[in-house]
């Protein structure tokens, strides 16, 4: 029995009169790939925003490795070991690919501006370790050869992969991927899938939102389904595929 890495306990958020996430309970086991699917506007991205501290929940509790994290600032949550990518790509456009990833190492290092100016041997060593860790993350996502390009000049698919590399550089235990395959062609999706499997094998837990069912079904260990903010189903890919409520609300006649 593996440990529970993330628990959502009756989490609700309202925007004005709209309940975007409605009393959701969710547990994710360490070392697995968990997918979250559901119709557009179901509240998937909002759940990511809740977990990473962008929104505080209206009620409920979110625990990471047994520790309550709701109410904490995003950077503290990242420091505890949760990293994410964004549905709308949010890279640091005018920084190079390598620099983007180096930001991921920020919370694992500590040199301040005085260190920056004086550059003691300790700081130099730390800087070297940042570069090394970042290059490693880039290698995982097969972007090493692009390290000196400006992020904004990368093609779309590579930008998505860079987002993942950047998240990996924070040395997370749990990584949240919001539609990582959107806008990619079948070939690129294939590569991405193998990369995600590689990440899983690095002892990371993955929480995934994606609309490409082929992608989701072949990657995930378990899937949760959201509709109008409520969790309507949860189970293995095989169970979800057959669940009539899910078919009605989400899958439609396309049976994958």
């Amino acid at each position: 029995m593996s440990t529970t890495i993330l628990e959502m306990d009756n989490v609700t958020i309202r925007f004005g009169g709209l309940t975007a996430v409605d009393s959701v309970n969710l547990n994710i086991q360490e070392g697995t790939i968990r997918a979250l699917i559901g119709p557009n506007g179901a509240g998937k991205s909002t759940i990511f925003n809740l977990i990473t501290g962008i929104y505080p929940p209206t009620s409920g509790e979110i625990r990471f490795l047994g520790q309550k994290i709701n109410g904490l600032k995003p950077h503290l949550i990242t420091e505890m070991g949760i990293a994410r990518t964004f549905q709308n790509i949010r890279l640091f456009g005018d920084m190079t690919v390598l620099e983007n990833v180096m930001i991921g190492q920020h919370c694992r290092t500590k040199a301040n501006f005085i260190g920056a100016i004086l550059r003691s041997p300790g700081v130099k060593a730390e800087e070297k370790s940042i570069v090394e860790a970042s290059l490693n993350a880039l290698e995982v996502m097969e972007l090493g050869h692009k390290k000196d390009e400006l992020a904004k000049n990368l093609p779309y698919g590579e930008q998505r992969r860079l987002e993942i590399a950047r998240a990996l550089a924070t040395n997370p235990k749990l990584i949240l991927l919001d539609e990582p395959a959107a806008g990619m062609n079948p070939q690129e999706k294939q590569t991405l899938m193998s990369m995600i499997n590689k990440i899983k094998s690095m002892d990371l837990t993955i929480f995934l939102v994606e609309h490409d069912m082929k992608f989701v079904m072949s990657l995930s260990d378990r899937i949760a389904v959201l509709d109008y903010g409520k969790k309507i189903a949860s189970g293995t890919p095989a169970e979800i595929k057959k669940n009539p409520a899910v078919i009605a609300a989400y899958l439609g006649k396309e049976v994958v």
Partner: protein
């Protein structure tokens, strides 16, 4: 005395509001703090003086002429100094605007000398007593002209199609164009309206304070801009509210004995308001959706 001071404040505030509207409209559409706006207001005031003294015209004609001149001026400035920078960084047109402002101000100093010029009396002095308040004819006219212009503007922006086009263009030029909006025309229109309101403000202020000077745009522009932000920059009712609020607060501040800190009053208020409402009194809160 208090009600008298409030009236003084409202009159002052109404002129701030007229200038603030131009700031807010231009900001609303191209996110530019149009630093040349204060100079347009100054030019408007001078055109008013010119019309009254040299061409011997009455208030209405002078006001109209000033508004027209500044309309053309504003549109030209946009075309020459801002349009080429429309797709560059946010600060580029700001610097260009500062350049335009320095240019116009020194040009005016050169043409007409650094001395202020008196505004000839176009409205006979008359004082009316309403209860404890004394209101002058000039004040009445300022309040009437300013509120008429503001109502008209509000109507245009709210109910006429171009108002909506302005909002769309302010978000995304390309997509606005894909809706069939002539973005250049909409922006020119915005400058035209904003500049003519500033000109009206210039003439009214000239009459109210009896003087115009090449440097009058600097502090008035700053205050008006402050008013626009106070009200929530981009919001038209906000600019009006901000102008009035600032005018009254400043006047009452002086009356309450904080005259030494008069200029600081406006800004202290502004900072306090921003701390509690980070997008101004009537500004829409920024939505954080990722």
């Amino acid at each position: 005395m208090l009600s008298q001071q409030i009236l003084n404040g409202i009159t002052l505030g109404a002129t701030y509001a007229l200038i603030a509207l131009g700031y807010t409209m231009v900001y609303g559409i191209i996110q530019l703090i149009n630093f040349a706006h204060g100079e347009i207001y100054m030019i408007g005031a001078f055109v008013g003086v010119l019309m009254v003294t040299v061409f011997q015209q009455d208030l209405i004609v002078s006001l109209f002429a000033a508004m027209m001149t500044c309309m053309i001026l504003g549109v030209t400035i946009e075309k020459v100094a801002y349009r080429p920078l429309r797709r560059s960084t946010r600060l580029a047109p700001l610097i260009s605007a500062i350049g335009v402002s320095i240019f116009i101000q020194t040009l005016m100093t050169k043409i007409q000398g650094p001395q202020p010029v008196g505004f000839p009396p176009v409205i006979a002095d008359a004082i009316y007593k309403v209860g404890p308040i004394e209101i002058t004819k000039v004040q009445i006219i300022i309040l009437i002209v300013a509120s008429t212009l503001m109502l008209a503007l509000n109507f245009i922006v709210k109910y006429v199609k171009i108002g909506k086009a302005m909002r769309a263009a302010s978000e995304d030029y390309d997509t606005a164009a894909l809706m069939g909006i002539n973005v250049n025309r909409v922006i020119s229109f915005t400058f035209a309206i904003g500049s003519s309101l500033a000109a009206a403000g210039g003439v009214l202020v000239g009459i109210y304070f009896n003087a115009v000077s090449p440097f009058m745009g600097v502090s008035a522009g700053l205050k008006a801009f402050c008013a626009a932000v106070l009200g929530g920059i981009g919001s038209i009712p906000g600019a009006m509210l901000g102008g009035l609020f600032l005018g009254v607060a400043e006047t009452l501040g002086i009356a309450a004995g904080f005259d030494l800190y008069k200029d600081a009053i406006a800004f202290t208020l502004l900072i306090i308001v921003l701390l509690f409402r980070p997008t101004g009194l009537l500004g829409r809160p920024i939505q954080r959706k990722v």
